[in-house]
Symmetry: C2
């Protein structure tokens, strides 16, 4: 193996490939980056327990003198290329299991990993992938993964449920205390699908959306999901098990609807949360719609004191006075997913789940379960 | 106690005062911020085991209706004022031990700490303090505290030695493996002094230099050092014990002198360090001046591989070839303290301390002890 490549091109692709590097693994070969060097292409492969990445590099700076495959210690490879300051990096092999990287005045020798240990990874590409705008895919991830469960006692809740039916793609996440759901239109005629993707995989996926490619292609099958983004294939395992049926969780009738300026509401809850966070990990605030149509958000800590925030709804509220208590963290995270200036908080009763929606972000529903106090 | 003050003025001063807040302390009153409210002035006092801060606020926004002293839970006070979005904050007392803060739509009640527990703190101000330009004081701190010891077995080495003699102020720090020394001119006729200031105190002091006040006044006595910066008094305890005599540590003769472009040298060592850091906490690199006047910086890890960096001195080196090994961390930190583009690395021999200097930063000497290898 012997080739030259532009350092910036190499680094840019390494920074994507490293997202699937294992850091702690009983299999040291998964700490490696596999390079397959062909006449006019270098293919990078990385893989860990959750995701696998395959990148095809066909840059004009690529100058291959000898083909070959190698498995390079990943973390150090990325770190050294990041610090190299030459324009070009030259790769060559010597003594069979050593790699030489030369760039400007740097001469780096690396002990290679045994490529025979590396598993064959099957990147499953469909004939008719689902096209989605990159910015929509970004929104799906940003608006769902935060609501997945971080505790492992119900593993299926650590994932985001993706359901494809005739005209929609429905993304749902819930940790059983709150739920976030986004429904987007897709072209017709895709097979119906119902899978659960690890939330962590999606958190890595969103990081590779750096170039401004308009579209991402989703290749979905029953074993895995593969996102094709330009020259990058990003494949994730799926979670096994049944995602809970969430449609009956959302109340149908909302006798109480309060419209808020989103930023005003967030800063008020943020201040109240400051106090409740000090006192307990649950961080409960109370919201009260009063007779005079003013909303009071309060939190109390016997040790420190009390915060009372007065918030004026942006329109006269519908419905009767209500007093309800909930996690400030869940409420803030839900409000954070909206882009709209104005949101509607819709209540059914003091012990029933409530919902946040907005006229601008019509495809998004945030639901939160209240807590009982006193 | 009852007064109003502009929120931004309050916050700006709180952010300084909080530097001396105790976070973990057996004395809960040291987690408090003391406010002394006078007719035309509010005084803030905070104190922990190392430093005490006293700030006088005489802002035109200050409107005192009733004088008084209170001790407010510090961390929460700072956090809530940071998040308040009203222009003005109103303070009032009720029920004897509760404080009410009102700002725009926020109404915050805080349980006060018992002010009778708070110790009387003596801020010792001299008649003739030493004036130092703020930017020089900043440089002293930036160029010395990094070289103090972080381990506590010789407590005196966790401090920076400040010696005042007839015309100079000499600041010295050493962890016994390296030494950093800065000598600055001061006006004559100050008493000779020789004290050791905890490095951590200086690290906090540098953070309060945010406004662009040109001068800082140093009030030095045998028990404490007090820095007067505008309306802020920042007092630190001194370390007890004798700071080691360091003057004999610095070699007098340097038969080998190599000039480098500082940035080129740093990036080369940085790359070599990357590999040595992986392998051990000591992170040793080797520097070799070769017959052909080229310098090679190398590091080797049996596990990962080898990095060889070729560096061309900016002038033909003086002296014979040499091969010397040292901590890349100490070398990089020392190089980092210079502002000059060009530095001189001066060697006496392979097992003797070596020195880094620059013609531009004449007042600064960095010394590093090499390590023996092989």
């Amino acid at each position: 193996m012997n080739f030259n490549i532009h350092r910036d091109v190499l680094l840019e692709n390494l920074l994507i490939a490293q997202k699937a590097l294992s850091t702690k693994t009983p299999a040291p070969y998964l700490q490696g980056i596999k390079l397959e060097v062909y006449e006019k292409e270098v293919v990078m492969v990385t893989s860990n327990a959750d995701i696998s990445i395959k990148i095809s590099i066909k840059d004009e700076s690529l100058d291959v003198k000898e083909e070959g495959n190698v498995l390079i210690p990943g973390r150090f490879f990325v770190d050294i290329v990041r610090k190299l300051d030459g324009d070009t990096v030259s790769f060559s092999m010597f003594e069979n299991n050593m790699l030489k990287l030369v760039s400007k005045n740097s001469d780096v020798t690396l002990n290679l990993l045994d490529i025979d240990d590396y598993p064959e990874i099957d990147f499953v590409v469909n004939e008719h992938p689902i096209p989605i705008e990159t910015k929509v895919m970004k929104a799906i991830i940003r608006q769902t993964t935060f609501a997945t469960s971080t505790i492992e006692n119900r593993p299926i809740l650590t994932g985001v449920n993706i359901r494809v039916d005739k005209e929609n793609l429905v993304a749902t996440a819930t940790d059983s205390f709150r739920l976030s759901q986004k429904i987007i239109d897709i072209p017709k005629n895709f097979d119906e699908m119902n899978v659960v993707i690890p939330g962590k995989s999606l958190d890595e996926l969103i990081k590779i959306f750096e170039e401004d490619l308009e579209e991402i292609l989703i290749h979905l099958n029953h074993q895995s999901i593969l996102f094709e983004y330009g020259n990058v294939l990003f494949q994730s395992r799926l979670l096994e098990g049944n995602f809970p049926e969430t449609s009956r969780l959302v109340p149908k009738e909302f006798p109480i609807v309060i419209k808020f300026d989103r930023t005003t509401l967030m800063t008020a809850v943020d201040r109240a949360a400051l106090l409740s966070q000090r006192d307990s990990s649950t961080s409960i605030v109370k919201l009260e719609l009063k007779d005079n149509d003013v909303v009071e958000i309060t939190s109390t800590s016997p040790e420190i004191g009390k915060v009372v925030e007065e918030v004026h709804p942006s329109e006269k509220p519908e419905g009767s006075p209500i007093k309800i208590a909930f996690s400030s963290k869940y409420f803030l995270e839900a409000l954070h997913t909206f882009s709209a200036d104005e949101v509607m908080v819709k209540f059914t009763g003091e012990v029933r789940p409530f919902v946040i929606e907005s006229e601008k972000d019509k495809d998004l529903t945030e639901l939160i379960l209240p807590v009982r106090t006193e």
